[in-house]
């Protein structure tokens, strides 16, 4: 009798679960008995579990490529015609596989954290190891029970049901793993937070390690969240990148917590305050990364009643409740022993206060997003009233939060720690604030802001653009001031201020993003039915319909409408929006055509095509400054990386 690969995979995960439970127990005993070899055995257990998880994942990947449809998961999520790249990514195209991927990444992360800790963190490592392995043990348990990718179906079918066509997009291929890496990286600050609480103190090494992991998590989360937005933009066809839907919100909340944590760590580093705040924030980030998965995976979003139908929801809820309770107990019991480093340092009108206000603004947004996301669920559960909380709700708060952040960035950056006087020359600041005006005017006129019909939208854009430029210039003045403090010794400045420069670049990224978001106020759209040879125009563009062609792209059959785009009589390019069909699905998917310049995108969706009389219906959108949003991602990630590789801070 041969043993099926699926069984091997299942038993590998089972073994991992047992090993992790052993790891938790031995690490806990190691802390109790102060027994180093026992801790080392816990560490080895973690490493072995990591290797076994990699092996289990490799089995699933191998079977995907071997088209082994005796795995129910592979049968449901791939088919014979799937191209190799998407066969690779089909691994995480559904619940079970993405759970295994998350488990795999968390396991790798935990193992790296266990082997690369700083020397002065050695005393808290057993706690770190115990908390990470406890989370992992639960993940393995879930992979065995409710989310098992290794279940089999016999007899083996000849072809699978196919991968969800919406996910057959390069952005969707890398978006989930990027986000998962971000989530798993957040587990390390959480574990260090719990360890610091259990141990009862925070050391300098703690801060350095947590800062690094949080920065790396920030980079991955930023990339992950925005790749999701990019996917929605080029694939879903409603011409936007952010709809504030629960899935998006649940990826934004950990990001906000992570940003908040980075600011709190800064205060902790420079002034010695906010230690307990950092721990709470690290927990919040980690908790909400799982919480997001819970609300998106349990079916609770569509209705409270569908929650009962999915078995995974109950397990998640139990885990989250347990996690929250455990943290609250440990925090309540141990937090009073964690004290500010130097009690003499007070809160004045200084940078640390500005950082605290920044955290307050960020947590305000968190509160709004959490309430908005959970309110329909709670309302339905308690008073039985089904309601919707969608984009307009969040959009009525977001502009004010955005403005507050833009202003806080400028004010916070010119302040200094423990000093209430302004160190930058007031004249320079005045110059910055004044010269922001012409810059904003140039931007507004090139971006054709005056064409916005609604008065509120126009006012919001004018205010937003001016404040963004003012903030940008004030930040730059601050860089100049710091440079002049070092008598323009660029090399010394770069060596000493990598972390600061990282912050500068990331903040510029946020300001660019806000400038990009403001473009939404003046977006235009038009729905038009065109027969072959007919023309339409929008925002100065003339689009003429040249008929449609059919073509084959890998496994998709695409019907493309050809639109010739010209402006002021000059032929520019041709757009080919289309509709595609996959052999394994009855649905029709939009293939979106996007072209444009720096200032706006011309975004065309072909919503229907009648071959009998060669007419098609197009939704044509003008989306201003979307490119700035994509550009800002690079800035933010680059800023995070720059701060991460700060040579000055690496040395203790």
């Amino acid at each position: 009798m041969t043993i099926a690969l699926a069984d091997i995979g299942y038993y590998l995960v089972l073994l991992c679960a047992i090993i992790s439970v052993y790891g938790v127990i031995s690490a806990l005993f190691a802390t109790r008995l102060r027994h180093r070899p026992l801790y080392l055995s816990a560490k080895m257990a973690q490493t072995v579990a990591c290797v076994l998880t990699i092996a289990a994942a490799a089995i699933l990947w191998w079977s995907f490529f071997a088209r082994d449809y005796s795995f129910t998961y592979i049968f449901k999520n791939s088919s014979n015609d799937l191209p190799p790249f998407y066969t690779l990514t089909a691994f995480w195209s559904s619940l079970e596989g993405s759970h295994l991927l998350w488990t795999l990444l968390l396991s790798v992360c935990a193992t790296v954290a266990a082997w690369t800790h700083a020397k002065d963190n050695e005393h808290i490592m057993p706690y770190v190891s115990a908390s990470l392995q406890a989370v992992l043990a639960w993940m393995y348990y879930l992979a065995l029970t409710h989310s098992d990718p290794f279940t089999r179906m016999l007899p083996m079918p000849n072809d699978g049901q196919g991968m969800n066509a919406l996910l057959q997009n390069p952005y969707m291929a890398i978006h989930p793993p990027t986000l998962f890496v971000g989530y798993t990286l957040l587990a390390v600050p959480f574990a260090y937070g719990v360890a610091a609480l259990c141990y009862g103190d925070i050391t300098a090494g703690w801060l350095k390690t947590v800062r690094r992991w949080a920065l790396l998590a920030f980079c991955f989360l930023t990339a992950g969240v925005s790749l999701g937005g990019r996917w929605a933009y080029v694939e879903l066809g409603w011409a936007g990148y952010w709809a504030w839907d629960p899935v998006e919100n649940s990826s934004l909340i950990p990001w906000l917590f992570c940003v908040c944590l980075l600011h709190s760590l800064l205060v902790q580093d420079k002034v010695g305050h906010l230690k307990r705040m950092s721990i709470a924030l690290a927990f919040g980030a980690f908790f909400f990364s799982f919480f997001g998965t819970f609300i998106t995976r349990s079916g609770v979003i569509s209705s409270v009643h569908s929650f009962a139908q999915s078995p995974i929801g109950g397990s998640y809820l139990l885990f989250l409740a347990g996690l929250l309770l455990a943290f609250i107990v440990i925090y309540y019991w141990r937090a009073p022993s964690i004290l500010p480093a130097e009690a003499g340092k007070v809160w004045g009108m200084a940078k640390e206060s500005a950082l605290l206000v920044t955290q307050f603004i960020l947590l305000t947004l968190v509160t709004i997003v959490v309430i908005g996301t959970l309110f329909p669920i709670v309302a339905e559960a308690i008073i039985g009233q089904r309601i919707s909380v969608q984009a307009p709700y969040f959009n009525s708060f977001a502009p004010y939060i955005g403005l507050a952040l833009v202003v806080a960035i400028a004010i916070g950056n010119i302040m200094r720690y423990q000093r209430s006087q302004l160190t930058i020359s007031k004249r320079m600041l005045f110059v910055a604030l004044v010269s922001a005006l012409p810059l904003a005017l140039v931007f507004a006129s090139y971006g054709k802001v005056w064409h916005t019909p609604a008065p509120f939208a126009l006012a919001a854009q004018c205010v937003g653009i001016y404040f963004c430029f003012a903030s940008l210039l004030v930040l730059s003045v601050d860089v100049m001031a710091r440079l002049s403090d070092l008598r323009f010794k660029l090399k010394l400045f770069l060596r000493r201020n990598c972390g600061y420069l990282g912050g500068y670049v990331a903040h510029i990224g946020l300001l660019i993003a806000v400038l990009g978001f403001l473009g939404n106020y003046r977006a235009l759209d038009k729905s038009v039915q065109l027969a072959k040879g007919e023309k339409t125009s929008l925002f100065g563009y003339d689009l003429s319909f040249d008929g449609a062609v059919m073509r084959q792209d890998n496994n998709a059959t695409i019907m493309e409408g050809i639109l010739q785009v010209s402006r002021a009589g000059q032929q520019l390019y041709s757009l080919r929006p289309g509709q595609s069909r996959y052999p394994t699905s009855q649905e029709v998917f939009h293939e979106i055509a996007v072209r444009g310049n720096f200032w706006h995108d011309l975004y065309v969706v072909m919503t229907s095509f009648k071959p009998s009389d060669q007419t098609a219906t197009f939704n044509i959108h003008i989306n201003p400054t979307v490119k700035l949003v994509w550009l800002s991602i690079f800035f933010m990630v680059a800023g995070g990386l720059l701060a991460l590789f700060d040579p000055y801070r690496g040395k203790s």
Binding site: A391, S396, M550
Partner: protein, 154 residues
């Protein structure tokens, strides 16, 4: 060849779900139509309005909106028609009255409450401690007396 033709035929058959937003409505009512259908949700999608969505259900809703506008109903009447027919759920945002209004008031109240808390927990210390970072004389005296008290008792 036959299978290819079959694929093409079924492909074309499924393409016929056209929706023309500007059909069956007067140009002067277009703005009202857009405003209303942007406030109603697409029942079968996540996070999209009826205006943005092209699904069957969303198109039906848009048709009803057009019909009601053409029948001379006002914005509020149309909204009321939808909420009595489908429940509050069909609106993209909850109303600000009643228990449901908590969705709006809860975050605002929390923010307003947190500001004094923030002050209480952080900047309050400035008064307890002197401005130059040294504990003020009164606080120091109090602490020393408390410690003396402890010593006396021993």
């Amino acid at each position: 060849m036959k299978t290819l033709l079959l694929v093409v035929a079924t492909f074309i058959a499924t393409l016929a779900f056209a929706y023309d937003r500007s059909a069956d409505i007067q140009p002067q009512d277009m703005f009202l139509f857009e405003e209303i259908s942007k406030q109603l949700r697409c029942p079968t999608c996540q996070g999209l309005s009826a205006w943005e969505s092209e699904t069957k259900f969303a198109n039906q809703i848009k048709d009803i909106v057009k019909e009601k506008i053409n029948a001379g109903m006002t914005r509020d009447e149309i909204m009321e028609f939808f909420t009595t027919r489908y429940g509050l759920w069909i609106m993209r945002v909850p109303p600000s009255q009643g228990v449901i209004g908590l969705a709006w008031w809860l975050p605002l109240t929390l923010i307003c409450l947190c500001l004094p808390l923030l002050w209480y927990f952080f900047w309050r210390r400035k008064r307890m401690l002197g401005s130059d970072g040294v504990r003020s004389r009164e606080v120091l005296m109090k602490q020393m007396q408390a410690e003396l008290e402890v010593l006396r008792r021993q």
